[in-house]
């Protein structure tokens, strides 16, 4: 095959090296082509093959499996609570996660989880670069899935470019219609899976199919179908580049010791086409075949250096390794490496990886501390809780004989899955009378049954006789399990009236 007879995209293509055609792919963000107003350049990524592609397929299968299967997992919680392992029960204000059941009052667990996720993201970023973007972000996972569908129907990069330029024949219409239909099916399945997290999955599936589910469910499915289709199918890399804040935050948080997909310019430059038999002396290993650009789902050229568009998926590594293999050069001209190592090698030093750095120590420490706090609070979590809210209006009630009464609203929370008799007592005040509306007077204490997984609201009236008012400023409500194993106390203010 001579250099000038290889045809790519209907044009004569130059060879980058013997057996390796040069792709005419151009980075969509190349500095040379940059304009004030840039309309989108369609990207037709070529399908890569290699380690990273395989890993990305595996991660796609793994993350999608988690997403689709989780709502169908069951977890026995007895008769008083639903048996869905992961369930956000908005109607009953509960969040179930396997053995954890979170009430709205404990939303700080969610806060803790979000802090953990953020710090974990920072840590992974400082160590290995944007692994999240490359392999687990829903945006890139679904984009990858949609590109896979596109490849299956329309063919690989060159076929797709030809199809895009081709006139609207019946064949093109058929391909486009079937592609968008399959995208929509995936989109519906995505939105459909989401609502199962908020409802009993088997019941809701039946309701959805028979048209008896609530309007909110259909609206959620429709909304998420639209976003999945639009973001994963149509907008793709634009979401990462223009909508997502993370690339910009990440750019501020990264450093030259962080691993990221790196073109080893110390080895690759000066680049240029290579003829069979020519010496590799005095030139770089890069034969400028542009295969790394052709496979890039973000449409960039990794050889331009680290850039915010790069999601670190490593597909360019696969493409380059394949080329290096074919021209008999060692692999990993593009590799997970650090900018610092490129500089070190250029200066004639040995490469080294510094995983222990101030920022990784800091992120790691924060991660451990937050995780430990979460674990501790979860382990020693009370299944019993007491909230006391003092009546503000009126703040106190003056009685005929000069005594003063304060009223309190008590919330008795039984977070266990058993109905319990809870003993309520009051201490810290010399009261003439303590009365529970509906349950009579508290002499020393009163037993109050509270259903499993329920809150019982009580109104308690505390009256202090006139002679004792001067010393009465506060009191403590004590709520204890009948068995005495668990108890909670809540203090409250007592207002002895005006002028005292």
């Amino acid at each position: 095959m001579s250099v000038h007879t290889v045809i790519e995209n209907g044009q004569r293509a130059r060879m980058a090296a013997d057996g390796v055609a040069r792709s005419d792919a151009v980075a969509t963000n190349s500095a040379a082509n940059r304009k004030l107003f840039k309309s989108r350049v369609p990207i037709h990524p070529k399908e890569a093959q290699g380690q990273y592609r395989s890993f990305k397929w595996a991660m796609m299968a793994f993350t999608l499996t988690i997403y689709y299967v989780t709502p169908w997992l069951r977890w026995d919680r007895g008769v008083t609570a639903p048996n869905q392992a992961v369930l956000v029960d908005l109607a009953h204000e509960r969040f179930y996660f396997f053995f954890i059941e979170i009430w709205p009052q404990e939303v700080y667990y969610i806060t803790g989880l979000l802090i953990l996720s953020a710090v974990a993201l920072f840590l992974v970023n400082a160590l290995f670069g944007r692994l999240w973007c490359g392999y687990s972000c829903p945006q890139t996972v679904w984009t990858d899935l949609f590109i896979w569908v596109e490849t299956k129907i329309e063919g690989d990069r060159n076929a797709r470019i030809r199809l895009a330029a081709a006139p609207w024949t019946a064949g093109k219409v058929l391909k486009r219609v079937s592609k968008h239909s399959i995208w929509l099916i995936f989109a519906v399945a995505t939105g459909g899976a989401w609502v199962f997290y908020y409802n009993d999955a088997p019941t809701l599936l039946h309701q959805l199919l028979t048209g008896t589910a609530g309007l909110g469910n259909y609206a959620a499915v429709a909304g998420l179908t639209f976003t999945t289709y639009a973001l994963g199918g149509l907008m793709r890399e634009q979401v990462c580049t223009y909508m997502c804040p993370w690339p910009r935050i990440q750019a501020a948080m990264t450093d030259i010791e962080a691993l990221s997909v790196t073109y080893r310019r110390d080895r690759g430059e000066p680049r240029g086409a290579h003829k069979k038999g020519d010496s590799w002396e005095g030139r770089g290993s890069c034969i400028d075949c542009n295969q790394c650009v052709a496979v890039c789902p973000m449409g960039i050229d990794i050889r331009d250096g680290a850039q915010l568009e790069c999601i670190n998926c490593g597909l360019c590594i696969d493409a380059c390794d394949d080329v290096m293999h074919r021209i008999g050069q060692p692999p990993r001209l593009i590799a997970y490496d650090t900018e610092a190592n490129v500089l070190r090698r250029q200066a004639g030093q040995a490469a080294r990886y510094r995983f222990v750095r101030p920022r990784t120590i800091l992120y790691g420490a924060v991660l451990v501390v937050v995780a430990a706090i979460m674990l501790l609070t979860l382990t020693f979590r009370h299944t019993l809780d007491l909230d006391v809210i003092r009546d503000r209006n009126p703040g106190y009630v003056q009685l005929a004989d000069g005594a003063v009464r304060n009223a309190y609203t008590l919330k008795l929370m039984n977070r266990s899955d058993q109905a319990r008799d809870l003993r309520l007592s009051v201490s810290g005040i010399k009261a003439r009378e303590i009365k529970v509306i509906g349950d009579g007077e508290i002499k020393t204490s009163v037993l109050l049954p509270v259903d499993a997984d329920k809150v019982r609201t009580l109104r308690v009236l505390v009256t202090v006789a006139q002679p004792d008012l001067a010393g009465s400023r506060g009191l403590v409500f004590v709520l204890a399990d009948k068995t005495g194993k668990e108890s909670r106390a809540a203090s409250a203010v007592f207002v002895p009236g005006a002028g005292r």
């Binding site: 304009k35 107003f37 503000r392 209006n393 009126p394 009630v397 009685l399 005929a400 000069g402």
Partner: protein, 288 residues
């Protein structure tokens, strides 16, 4: 603008306007933006057809759905009433004592009572039933007409000095304004009432007022000034004062004989609602 001019740097057409050599680019709107604009126009046309949109002289275009928010609210209220009907009937049939004993029914009555209180009673009695000058505090243990559940229910039912034929009726005379007593006698009486509630007062005035009290006040308030619920006459010996506890306040009340009106709620509220209100007020804390 006669000729089209394209800016060299951006490749975009200019508007032809020029200020000191600076020309304005005529950058086209982004297509997605225009798309949304056109979509909203299409949506608006659909909206006119489906929903009420255009005002007419005496009516308006109803739209094919014939949608009306008022009908929706009416239907929702009706549905709510239907859903509550069972409990409402139970409440209407139950005696007040039974309601106190049944926790579920009590909770229902309290919720309904709270809502009814907010709608009807708050303007005078305050949002917590704490009362104000001239409007009794419903939280304390002082009741002009009785603090048992049945007393409270009856008071809500017929009102005080209201238009009902069965109204609770009493009238403190305006001893000063109507010239029944002389001003100096009222001065003495006010001192006497201060003395009744256990506070220091001029002993000579108290002595002078003693026969006056027996003649003019004891009929309703009792010889010892302890009040009488038959007449809705307040106890003058305790710490609670509807029109104020100071000498001047008491003087003013004897002179003018203030007496507010509580309307009759029978006919305005259903018997079940009145019962719920009674339970709610009773459970504010002062119920007997």
């Amino acid at each position: 603008m006669s000729e089209k001019e394209v800016d060299e740097v951006s490749g975009t057409q200019t508007t032809g306007h020029e200020w000191d050599g600076i020309k304005e680019l005529d950058t086209p709107m982004p297509r997605w933006w225009l798309g949304i604009l056109y979509a909203t126009i299409v949506w608006a046309i659909g909206y006119w057809i489906v929903y009420p949109a255009w005002p007419g002289i005496s009516s308006y275009s109803h739209g094919v759905l014939n949608h009306s928010q008022r009908d929706e609210v009416t239907a929702n209220v009706a549905a709510l009433k239907a859903a509550r009907a069972g409990r409402e009937q139970e409440l209407a049939k139950a005696s007040l004592a039974d309601i106190q004993k049944d926790p579920d029914l009590l909770q229902f009555a309290m919720a309904e009572g709270k809502a009814a209180f907010g709608d009807n009673c708050v303007p005078c009695h305050g949002s917590g039933g704490q009362g104000a000058r001239g409007y009794p505090n419903l939280n304390d243990d002082v009741w002009l007409w009785g603090g048992k559940l049945t007393d409270i229910e009856h008071t809500i039912d017929v009102g005080v000095r209201s238009t009902s034929a069965d109204t609770r009726q009493s009238q403190m005379p305006a001893f000063g304004r109507d010239g029944v007593l002389k001003p100096e006698q009222i001065d003495d009486l006010a001192a006497y009432v201060v003395h009744l509630s256990g506070r220091p007062a001029d002993p000579r005035a108290v002595r002078r007022a003693t026969p006056l009290f027996s003649d003019n006040c004891a009929g309703c308030h009792g010889a010892a000034g302890k009040g009488d619920r038959k007449f809705g006459a307040p106890n003058l010996t305790d710490n609670e004062w509807e029109y104020g506890s100071a000498y001047e306040d008491i003087h003013d009340q004897i002179w003018n004989g203030h007496g507010g009106v509580m309307p009759t709620w029978a006919g305005r509220l259903s018997p079940a609602e009145i019962k719920a209100l009674a339970v709610y007020v009773h459970n504010l804390g002062g119920g007997e």
